[in-house]
Symmetry: C2
Subunit: 138 residues, 2 copies
Amino acid sequence: MTGDPTAAPAPGVPLAAVDRELVEGVAFDSSGLVPAIVQDADGGQVLMLAYMNRDALARTIATGRTWLWSRSRQELWCKGETSGDRQYVREVRVDCDGDAVLLLVDQHGDAACHTKEWSCFHRPAARGPGVPRPDPRP
Amino acid sequence: MTGDPTAAPAPGVPLAAVDRELVEGVAFDSSGLVPAIVQDADGGQVLMLAYMNRDALARTIATGRTWLWSRSRQELWCKGETSGDRQYVREVRVDCDGDAVLLLVDQHGDAACHTKEWSCFHRPAARGPGVPRPDPRP
């Protein structure tokens, strides 16, 4: 825990090289939300899937911290500000049709998941061998 | 292109070690859908975000191919069966609250994205340095 929950969130490093047209063009759904995948910039693990409204996206870019919209609490929150498991954002990417975003982050603290597992996606539901590519990657 | 679009999709290797309770417990939304993140099992790139209904999830596990629900076309589809950019699934993971899934796949063909970029998340919207962890990862 990081103490006073009413204190302003610890600052990150504001993002630069902002593509305003791309950001403005993000297609929020009928609830005003877009799914946001958060990925560990170092290890590559997919850490969590959460949701952003336009304000959360703007705050994320302005502060370099992960800001999200909680659908259950119906409020903006800054990831890790209560738990200490903060995320400092290195990059925001937008997908080809503009209706999903990907954050690449430095994950601080113990974990991204409230269970204290590194990733929220820690439960295997099924596994197989896959099929290796027969040819080199393009 | 892989020829006759009416042909049955090329088989993958069916997934095993299936946690039926976890699969049955996936929390589909009011539209019967759950977001599915697809990640390159080798390179670690997040390739795409799409949606599954219960049938798509069952088919994915049964066939070892990525099956999805197209919200625009309102139909099930098997990723890559028309483009040749098939995905062979190595693992399905479910997140901590059961309302998102992660697929780890062998990406075949040219790309995951219809634009022929490797990942649908190829557009940077903003970048920064992040904040490196002050301590080793747990």
